[in-house]
Symmetry: C2
Subunit: 434 residues, 2 copies
């Protein structure tokens, strides 16, 4: 057999030549005069056509017996251009050689229950829908990193294992840490990002974060990735502009490079094309009024739930930025609004189409007295925050940042209802395998 | 004061113009007629010169009283080019405005103990040595991702929380996982990468990994980042070529973009410039002979320690690839050598200059019978590996991959002796804060 192995994605450069493709049988349809094999190799799928007259070494005869679903094999043939479709190439197959046989592959071309598919996630990744979603995830991650790397940010990997119980231990995973007592898995890298921005000006953390919450909703994972930029000498206004520009860049990258994936996922691409700057901006107080008008009243001071976010953002075709939330519903480190001490300089970015909050951020409190007061008020352990307070003792500056949940962003891009589809091996309250 | 704020790194574009720089006092040297302030903003450091005649608003007089080490402030002045040095720009300062005062900054311009500096890591990041090392880290991470992204790899984020105790629980961090019992923090993403390469052809995982080893050496962290490519239809030979090409690319990126950092770290740049393909390759058995000749004999079958690696690699000015280790010293999933069943198709890449192993990898065992036998032989829990065995049941293919420890790579690039310097917030057996 020919030794010039090529990937499916590169077939277009080999039209008319004999090549070998190595991959797995995605589907096989033997007919009387031609036998069709859809061969996937991870970079794409190619139709290999075995003809009764043209195939060698009895490959036409061996076809049904040997080529089962997800068997691995090498197919040799001549690359041809599809007569009707541009950008579609086929293999006028001559021969095949088996590598690894597959018998009774668990995932059949029929409807399976979601729970079954995720119990087979190690195999389910080969199916076209997970494949497309995770390719979009790949592109989103690259867009995130490219954006910050090209805008003067320094990557600051924050630790997963932390001594800070921080905002209470009830939603933290804990582990014994040698002779130092309990360590907790980080829920955020933000406090470390704040230290970083005083050293590097602009930083971002990007890594897995953990929530031991007993929430079993379609928007919760116990382990998920979060990117968190933090910028010195930046106020809430700058923070909003950064979030806006950042989101638009990601959407643009996905639209440019992931058309085939979005089409396979039947995503309404026009909805993503509408995502342009500027984003509408309203305050929490405005949003409360809008909710009252829409017949979903909520008392001023209470936090919004997913249905409120959906209702408020329903009028917009692009993300909505809601600012200035009541102090009580936001974290202790957010800066109070000088014009209205009831609210803090927070911002949430709500994706359109009901995909909910994708970004939460704020300007941070840089005044040590206010911050100490807030820590005391929330009955947090002051000692755990001494190093964090140092950032206000030694050259405190105005600074801001936000966190974006990667999986929520990917879910919005792909139009998937359940966030577990957006991560290779999801961890939820009832799933820890494979 | 002028509102046209610029970053230090951009001063070269503003020569002759009045600008404002926001930053922190790195050093202040008041003299009789001129007062000198080194202002750092994370993107660089600029010398601001206040003249008795030219400064406004009593800034010359206020200088000593107000500007203390690490105070944050805004300095306005005219950008000038250094009379002697190209690429050096100064600020002919007119005025300054304080933002946050700093009193008794803990890190003084004198020698501090390492333990003290790492207890102040949140502030120590501002010093020039950590700053330079973490900028190199940033560049290495970008090089790693760019390399794989541009070579057809799909990023596959593997889970941190796993049910697999895998190779024994003694070096694992454990946590309670709801009603599902213990979860363990991943030591590697490799098994997941293997599942991924059957779906995407080429994948890489890149994230934090954990070792609860009670090792307190200069080469161990309990939490560190590892990148692990895994490629379907690739053998040991391809794996070596990939590792070689990958390392050369990273070194090239660092040499191109991190000269100032390497110079600040007093790195011998010529040592890095020598790192070119091809790398020397020897077998474990050859290495045992070399060690005997060098008067450091080791019985065939025992694993190399750091001193052995240093001795064997001492003759080379570039990384050394050692292959085909005895089965007993390597992991169960490595493929046996068909020509010599005592050894497996493993490879370690040893950095020059005594920086030790930076890559460990292998061709993987694709035969399910051999793999089952190895799992039984090592008394590992078969049930935990059922999903992994599925990868051999359903279209098994030859495949290979490796893991590179990010911090070891950065330590080699920077020429640092202790790995804790290469990560923002190191976690070691006796350090969990800040």
């Amino acid at each position: 057999m020919s030794e010039s192995r090529v990937e499916v994605r590169s077939l277009k450069d080999h039209v008319g030549r004999e090549v070998t493709v190595a991959g797995w049988c995605y589907n096989a349809r033997p007919q009387k005069r031609f036998k069709f094999l859809e061969l996937r190799d991870g970079t794409g799928t190619v139709q290999c056509v075995f003809g009764a007259e043209t195939s060698l070494n009895n490959s036409f005869e061996r076809f049904e017996e040997e080529i089962t679903q997800e068997s691995s094999l090498y197919v040799t043939g001549i690359v041809t251009k599809h007569p009707k479709h541009d950008d579609v190439f086929e293999l006028d197959a001559r021969d095949f050689r088996m590598e690894g046989r597959s018998e009774n592959y668990p995932i059949q071309p029929k409807e399976h229950g979601v729970d079954f598919l995720f119990s087979q996630r190690h195999l389910y990744l080969r199916s076209s829908r997970p494949h497309a979603i995770l390719r979009v995830r790949h592109r989103v991650v690259k867009a995130i990193r490219d954006y910050f790397d090209s805008h003067g940010f320094t990557l600051l990997d924050s630790p997963i294992l932390t001594a800070n119980a921080g905002e209470g231990t009830s939603t933290l995973f804990a582990t014994e840490y040698f002779d130092l007592g309990q360590a907790y898995l980080a829920q955020t890298g933000q406090l470390y990002g704040e230290a970083g921005c005083m050293a590097f000006g602009k930083v971002y953390t990007f890594g897995p974060t953990f929530r031991a919450e007993k929430s079993a909703t379609r928007r919760h994972l116990t382990e998920f990735w979060m990117v968190e930029p933090e910028v010195a000498f930046m106020d809430l206004e700058g923070n909003m502009s950064l979030a806006e520009d950042f989101i638009c860049y990601i959407v643009e990258c996905v639209l440019t490079d992931c058309r085939p994936e979005l089409e396979r996922l039947e995503r309404d691409i026009s909805k993503l094309e509408a995502v342009k700057k500027p984003f509408p901006r309203i305050t929490y107080s405005d949003a409360v009024e809008v909710l009252a008008q829409k017949g979903q009243p909520i008392p001023w001071g209470e936090d919004f739930g997913a249905p409120h976010e959906t209702a408020v953002s329903a009028d917009y075709d692009r993300p909505l930025i809601i600012t200035k939330y009541p102090e009580a519903v936001k974290a202790f480190y957010m800066k109070r609004d000088a014009d209205d001490p009831r609210v803090v300089l927070a911002m949430d970015v709500i994706a359109p189409e009901g995909y909910g909050e994708i970004i939460g951020g704020s300007q941070r409190e840089e005044n040590i007295d206010v911050l100490v007061h807030r820590i005391e008020h929330e009955k947090l352990p002051m000692e755990a925050f001494e190093w964090y307070l140092d950032l206000r003792r030694y050259g405190s500056v105005p600074h801001s940042g936000f966190g974006m949940g990667l999986e929520r962003m990917v879910a919005w891009m792909c139009g998937t209802q359940h966030i577990r589809e957006t991560i290779p091996f999801p961890r939820t309250i009832d799933r820890l395998r494979p």
